[in-house]
């Protein structure tokens, strides 16, 4: 039984039950992965809804990325639950006043939505493969076609129409999903470090930058592997997107922090001790330092109109910095909030266990899985536009 409980050391006075930190590193990774879902979906949306053509090369890949991460999102939660076998209770008897109950709906809705969107985006490929492949794969694709091989002007029009409609709903779905994650934390009045009205917005914007960043990284890495040229226009577009949202994210985070400090409610000394103590490295070096460094690199790249290899290196490095900064931000919120005692007179310090159901090893596994899923998905539904089909307009394209 001993290993079940990891009591956190503390200073000052904390309520006796607080010494067991309820949410560990698994709940850090949960909003992080959810954020990647929302962010990569945003990029797809820019193409499918807003019709920004420069994102076309990654639009379908972005959808697959979003789905791959979304399929893994429930996993950290399930691992965290005391009774994972009862998880379906959330769907069966959702308590409508609970932000967590909304997760069941948001997640199920979003998975269905993005699956449908992918289905429409890939339908012509699926039909083609149902005819070309053999054996088991053929059956698989045939099942995916729902028994209809029909490709015509009419079906294309329908597919494009549904794709666009789903993408529009998806904007609300994906961003609602992540806004809700912010709400999970922001709606709790019990924790000073969480209970902020800005929390959903901060989570949303940081989700978007992390999603764009992972997409940049994946795009660069996969292009390397496929030995194809990286689309410079697309890369530049992604850089702009990351740059804009990054500024927005940093400003929001600063405003939130300024609010806490300026209001200076009871226990503000303990809040200051928190950011100077248990989470100082995460706040000042990783989160702030990472964001600012990424901002300067991106500014330089965009300002100087850097081209080719330099552009790619610059944008990739800032993407990595953003990924680290956003992870640190998740840690600082989820863990930091619990390290600040509800008494406002004490600080706890959380150290994640290494080998544990809720330990670092579990997190590594959980965070590796989406990449395998994504690899599998790209094998089944190759998202890259080749064979000149892009030019022939065979991909359902958006014109408006």
């Amino acid at each position: 039984m001993e290993a079940l409980v990891h009591a956190a050391p503390y200073t000052g006075y904390v309520y006796p039950n607080e010494t067991i930190i309820p949410w560990g590193i698994l709940i850090v990774i949960y909003p992080y992965i959810t954020g990647l879902v929302a962010g990569s979906f945003t990029v797809a949306t820019f193409y499918h809804v807003f019709g920004v053509p420069r994102f076309k090369p990654v639009a379908r890949f972005a959808l697959l990325t979003s789905l791959a991460f979304m399929l893994i999102v429930p996993l950290p939660l399930l691992l965290h639950l005391g009774h994972p076998e009862r998880a379906l209770n959330v769907i069966l008897t959702p308590h409508l006043t609970s932000a967590f109950a909304a997760f069941g709906f948001f997640a199920a809705f979003y998975v269905i939505l993005v699956t449908l969107e992918i289905w429409f985006a890939f339908r012509e490929d699926i039909v083609a493969m149902a005819q070309n492949q053999k054996g088991l794969l053929r059956r698989f694709y045939r099942a995916l076609t729902l028994g209809s091989d029909e490709i015509s002007e009419t079906t294309r029009a329908y597919d494009a129409k549904w794709l666009k409609a789903l993408a529009i709903i998806g904007i609300a779905g994906a961003h609602g999903l992540h806004g809700y994650v912010g709400f999970v934390f922001g709606s709790l009045k019990s924790r000073e470090w969480w209970g902020s009205d800005l929390m959903p917005a901060i989570f949303l914007v940081s989700a978007i930058i992390s999603g764009i960043a992972i997409l940049i990284l994946l795009y660069v890495v996969t292009s390397r592997f496929r030995k194809t040229v990286i689309d410079r226009d697309c890369m530049k577009g992604l850089a702009y997107l990351l740059w804009g949202f990054l500024i927005f994210a940093v400003v929001l985070e600063f405003l939130e922090f300024a609010n806490i400090v300026y209001k200076g409610r009871e226990g503000i000394e303990t809040v200051m001790a928190l950011i100077a103590g248990p989470i100082w490295f995460g706040v000042w070096v990783l989160q702030l330092g990472g964001s600012v460094a990424a901002f300067f690199i991106l500014t330089y790249v965009i300002w100087r109109g850097t081209q080719d290899k330099q552009l790619i290196i610059g944008v990739t490095v800032s993407a990595v910095l953003v990924l680290v900064a956003v992870f640190a931000m998740r840690w600082n919120v989820v863990i930091g909030g619990q390290e600040l005692s509800k008494t406002m007179q004490g600080l706890l310090s959380y150290t994640p266990p290494i080998f544990d159901r809720e330990g670092i090893s579990a997190v590594v596994i959980v965070f590796t899985l989406p990449f395998f899923v994504l690899w599998g998905l790209t094998r089944l539904l190759p998202p890259w536009l080749s064979h000149g089909r892009q030019a022939q307009g065979q991909i359902p394209s958006i014109t408006s």
Binding site: L4, Y15, P16, P22, H83, N89, P94, A157, Y158, L188
Partner: protein, 276 residues
Amino acid sequence: MKWKISKHQPGRRRFMRLLGRAMVFAGAALFSVGLMGRRGLAAAIPALAGTNYDWTKHRWGFGVDATRCIGCLRCVEACKTENGVVRDAHHFRTWVERYVYLKGERKPQVDSQSDPGNIAASGSETEFRFDNRYQDAKIDKAFFVPKLCNQCEHPPCVQVCPVGATFRTPDGVVLIDHDYCIGCQYCVQACPYGVRLFNHAHGVTDKCTWCYHRITRGLQPACVEVCPTNARLFGDQNDPESVISKFIRENRTRVLKPEMGTSPNVFYIGLDKEVM
């Protein structure tokens, strides 16, 4: 716009489209009925353990007279035993805090039975005793404060439970259904008072129930039963002559963290400004 292409449809297609829409609406309607269907059934009173207890007739309340508490921690011992609370220094349904204002200091020194010094004094994490660390100190004032679940009128813990595994009964007690709890610990986070705890061995959240199995039999909660100084008292707020009604009427009581908007039902006298 290309996506308006299907304006002129043959009859069969129009029918199919209508059918599709009808199915979507029917599905949505059925789903919401499924959600709401169980509401509105007659709210019968549960037969509690073969007694004639009527939960609509009571409104329980708890009083703490902090000026009487001697910090003997028999309440903590009794609570752990009565309710099978995990036997270590990190799981408590009720606990006692000690506030000591040293001479010349404006902030108190605070500790509870979980403090390492107090564990050393008791000899183990399964027994409870305050050490006498301040016996030679110069002290302005010192006192003990028992803490337990406030059984709030507006419980944030119930609000956040995703499945309905915790709820407030009509007689005013917030309970946990251990056989339905999924163990997400969101309620642990939501409680401003830190009274919720997690039983890792059984994967469920736990908390003070004012000994619901005792009070529905007409007994006192275990902590009240063993308190040697009547620092804890319990009764029915619906009965104007009950100890709790008198306690509230005859004293100027206060509740913990009123700014949280939770409307607690544990009423304190003898607290000080720094009690959190």
